[in-house]
Amino acid sequence: MASKLRGSENRDGIALVVPVVLVVAAIIVVPIVWTVVLSFQDARYVDVARNGLFNELTLDNYVDVLTAPAFWQALLTTVEYSVATTAGSITVGLVAALAFRDRFRFRAPLRAVMLLPYVAPVVATTFVWQVALNPQYGVVNAFGTQVLGWEHPVNFLSSAPTALLTVIVYDIWRYFPFAFMFLGAALTGLSREIEEAAVVDGATPLQKFWFVVLPQLLPTVALLVLFRMVMAFNEFDDVYLLTGGAAGTQVASVRVFEQLTGSSDIGGASATAAVMAVFLGVALAIYLRLTARQREAR
């Protein structure tokens, strides 16, 4: 009986996995391949509707993408945005995890509350931020002008340097709970004995953190950096909902969206996405190489 089950293992395994694989392939893999093909075609919606995948192949889209100053600006914005939100959300998440490490009254409910920005619908929270920051009726500007004595209300989301900064602050607010959650779990997994030994040897709290706790958290931090960088690099919702890509916040995926919906330039949009994916892939490869060397060194 048991051997009979063993024999059917291969067949059963494939049968159980196939439905999921088909859905993921149809909704994710095929579109990605399609995007790559389209990026080599000078296609508009009508051409795709009429000819499907079989349009004339060309490199024009890539030439257009790589020679457009707006593309390089979008790439720079994406990198600035990704690095700043990743560093910011992980730093705040780490500080939060350390503050919540030792028991205190109401720790469990407060920890649950701290995850709200991450679980709440992005449409609702971006809307609240937009209203709060609005120059006419927002509470932040009202407070600034009436209490802090600002001369003018600040156009947080519609003027150049502040818009990107505001988006970054919003995303740190939205994503620090993610880092907090993972680093909190990692901290509970640490054995306290090494730390106690360090304290006996006269280490100050900061030395204990720097030389004992932080090194043990580095694998989790490295993983979080990877997650957050990839997510931030492809982020669309937050930026689009807050600023629509205006005032120097046009990150790559918002640019792709505008190429698609504004100028219905499918080929150009696909090429932009493909180039960005290559940049991301190269950055990931370098990052993994560097962290692998670190792991070996330790």
Binding site: A2, I32, Q130, V147, L223, I266
Partner: protein
Amino acid sequence: MSAVTVQTNVLRVLRVVVIVGLVVATVVPFVYMLSLSFVRIDDLLRDPLRVLPALDRITTETYREVLASEEDGGYGFARFMRNSAIVAVGASALTVVLVVPASYALTRLRFAGRSQVSWLFLAVYLFPTIIIAVPVFVGFQVLGLGSSLVGLVIAYVALTVPVSVHMLRNYLSGIPESIDEAAVIDGASRLQILTRITVPLAMPTIMSTALYSFMIAWNEFLFALLFLSAKQDLWTVSLGLTRLADGQEVSKTVLMAGSVLLTVPIVLLYGVAERALTEGLTAGADKG
């Protein structure tokens, strides 16, 4: 004083400051949302600094207006909520049906292509959703699923499957295989093992997986924007709120009531299952 006592004292104070600061920063936007949803728009325009309305100025008219259908002079959020609920329940049910057998196979059975499947799921995250959304939309139009809730459900399943598989796999690999083997000796078939043993044992994690995909589907915005923009009767709450906020004609406090309606179901569900959800997501994080 020694360095140890100075640092200990400073850190003790700092810790309280950090906890209070972070809790305030996370909670205040939600308080602002809730409180503005009961404010009349002219009160907000007159005094934006007054966040909590005076007791005699509190209004629930905002909720009536946002929930009522267009025929009754409202904005149809009751219908949007029904649409969101259909999509989110459908997506989470379908995700569970697909993911449970797959995770079981990935943890228990050796079959050709097992490791490739795991890599396939990771590839999902390398590309922006926007680039996946457009070909899916075009393909669904051809199949007649383009502007429908069914199409949206299928898309959401694909978006939530990778993380769901990860959560369930982590849990299943912690259940000893000897239980399965004992059942085999008692003459159970593979299907019986899956339905009678694995599913009951993994029920808590299955529930948190279902919850996770419900939340993703309820909160999602981009696919809904591409698929359903033209069909106002099919709008989800997220899409409805964005579309109505784009114009100038709908008052902000009415939309604030809409935001509350969008947020409350998620917060309630999260409140019920917070622990299961965070443990499911962070499983394996402490192993580094």
